[in-house]
């Protein structure tokens, strides 16, 4: 079997609502794939199905035997007030090798190596809340890396972060990819992230299109994926997506300020 993971007409649902419908997908060793689509399009479910925590109700998911998969959640879902240091958070991933509660010397060393590789070497004893946004994201990448994965899944690794942090996180992810790790990530950021990835999957419950950014970042495909008009320009050979808000733009003056609605006027006390 060449593929790491292969979906064959996979359908998943939560309750009565189908979340993924007839999805065909293949992840090859060393690939870097971005999943794009609107909120509720099944991106996170697709990652969980790849990882094996969501079972399909129809179709087949084949995983390479013995494959180790790392999963990095959205940082918004993390409980930042949980009493846990960076080292404890990273070592959490070690659940199979050792039964004793405390980590072995080897485990501590390996965790330290992973932390240093991700630029977190001096922060092992800090509480996770005391880190910057990019460092926090890297802690959870480090946790996934400690499981020695062949495939790393990242659920919106750059959501809610500033441009510099996004650059910082993507730099780390690209480095891991260059070291041979297969990566699948979900993102809402078409210009900042998706257009820079080797392969994209446009998802809206079903796969709308898959291919390189040049092949799939096209108005008609994006409109089918997002259900909204999106204009695509080319800049230096790369596709750039323009979001259109005609009600905010004056054709002659450029951007305009919408007049306040009656009920938005302030009334003097």
């Amino acid at each position: 079997m060449e593929h790491l993971v292969r979906f064959d007409r996979v359908t998943c649902r939560y309750g009565r609502e189908p979340v993924l419908v007839n999805v065909d997908l293949e992840i090859e060793p060393g690939e870097f794939v971005g999943i794009v689509g609107p909120s509720g399009s099944g991106k996170s479910t697709l990652l969980k199905a790849i990882a094996g925590s969501v079972e399909p109700i129809a179709g087949r998911i084949e995983r390479r035997p013995g494959i180790s998969i790392g999963y990095v959640p959205q940082v918004e879902t993390v409980n930042w007030f949980f009493p846990i240091t960076v080292r404890e958070a990273v070592l959490m991933a070690r659940i199979e090798d050792r039964r004793l509660p405390w980590p072995s010397k080897d485990e501590i060393e390996e965790a330290q190596q992973v932390l240093e590789r991700l630029g977190l070497g001096g922060l092992a004893d800090r509480h996770i809340r005391e880190l910057s946004g990019g460092q926090q994201q890297r802690v959870f990448i480090a946790r996934a890396m400690l499981g020695r994965p062949k495939l790393l899944l990242l659920d919106e690794p750059t959501s809610g972060v500033d441009v510099r942090t996004r650059h910082d996180v993507m730099h780390v992810i690209h480095e891991l990819h260059h070291q041979g790790l297969a990566i699948v990530l979900t993102t809402h950021d078409l210009n900042g992230i998706a257009s820079h990835l080797p392969r994209l999957v446009c998802l809206n419950r079903e796969v709308i299109a898959t291919g390189s950014p040049r092949q799939v970042i096209k108005s008609e495909i994006l409109e089918r994926t997002y259900g909204a008009p999106l204009e695509v320009l080319s800049h230096g050979g790369m596709p750039v997506v323009l979001e259109q808000y005609p009600e905010l733009v004056d054709e002659e003056e450029g951007a305009k300020v919408l007049p306040l609605r009656e009920d938005h006027h302030e009334h003097p006390a």
Partner: protein
């Protein structure tokens, strides 16, 4: 010196001291997971829910302890299941399920009038009337719980911190939840008649909160919680002998005093970097 050792001459006191100290440690251990899962009220709720099971098993004629454990376990698992629905929080699930279970107990009593309940004893227990068998049951539950937490430490931590990713990473979170529910229910059933509902509820919450106030590390929180639970159980019962106060009440009050000190200390500790930073600027 002989005055300090005087209470140890009484067997009933020795038993009370052992049970209160071990219960303090046990609640400190299990309570960490309870508090961090946002289920602080489950101790109070389950001890009410178990009451329904105790009455039902008395009427049916089976062991009250076994009946209470089975009943409490069903309630705890149901709470877990309901709380996982995002539209319903753990607090609401605990409130709904345990009150209904308590109501079943009340109705059964009203139908079967031979069951007489001393509500004051239920609230505060009677640690000075501990029978030797009670000591063995509490020690057995404490040993089993400690062993289980020791062997499942990593899975418990992962599923408490991040259940979704734990599941993806190969932790059987449903099995961990069931294990925790069994330990919690057994703890409450074993200690309820001895130390009372109020002390269980308090000791499941206060020692972990003390630990949380004093550290940002999970493993340290666990040690501090177990240590302060043990301290409060011992000092509370020992002190109650001389003060002639309710032993359950004294244990909880000791925990309350420790909590205040921990709260003040954590506030003072947090101000240190702020003051240092002011000097720098």
């Amino acid at each position: 010196m002989s005055t300090l050792l005087e209470p140890f001459h009484y067997e009933f006191f020795q038993r009370a001291l052992v049970v209160a100290t071990v219960t303090g440690a046990l609640c400190g251990l299990i309570g960490v997971y309870v508090v961090l899962r946002g289920m602080s009220y489950i101790g109070h709720g389950l001890s009410h829910a178990i009451f329904g099971g105790a009455v039902a098993s008395y009427i049916v004629g089976v062991s009250v302890f076994v009946g209470a454990v089975v009943w409490g376990l069903i309630a705890a698992l149901f709470i877990n299941k309901v709380a996982r629905r995002r539209s319903i929080g753990a607090d609401a699930a605990i409130g709904a399920i345990t009150s209904a279970s308590f109501a079943i107990g009340i109705i059964l009593i009203s139908v079967q009038r031979t069951f007489v309940v001393n509500f004051e004893a239920l609230l505060w227990g009677n640690v000075l009337a501990v029978a030797p068998v009670d000591v063995l049951v509490v020690l057995g539950v404490a040993l089993a719980s400690t062993l289980w937490v020791f062997l499942r430490y990593r899975q418990l931590l992962f599923s408490t911190f991040d259940p979704e990713v734990a599941e993806v990473s190969g932790v059987n979170t449903a099995r961990v939840d069931i294990g925790l529910a069994i330990m919690l229910t057994a703890t409450i059933a074993a200690t309820m008649s001895v130390i009372g509902v109020t002390m269980i509820a308090a000791m499941l919450v206060i020692p972990p909160v003390i630990g949380r106030l004093l550290t940002d590390s999970f493993s340290k929180m666990l040690w501090i919680s177990v240590g302060s639970g043990t301290f409060c159980g011992f000092v509370g019962v020992y002190g109650s002998y001389y003060l002639n106060w309710s032993s359950g009440g004294t244990v909880v009050l000791t925990a309350g005093v420790l909590f205040v000190f921990a709260f003040l200390f954590s506030g003072w500790r947090r101000r240190i970097p702020a003051v240092a930073a002011e000097h720098v600027h």
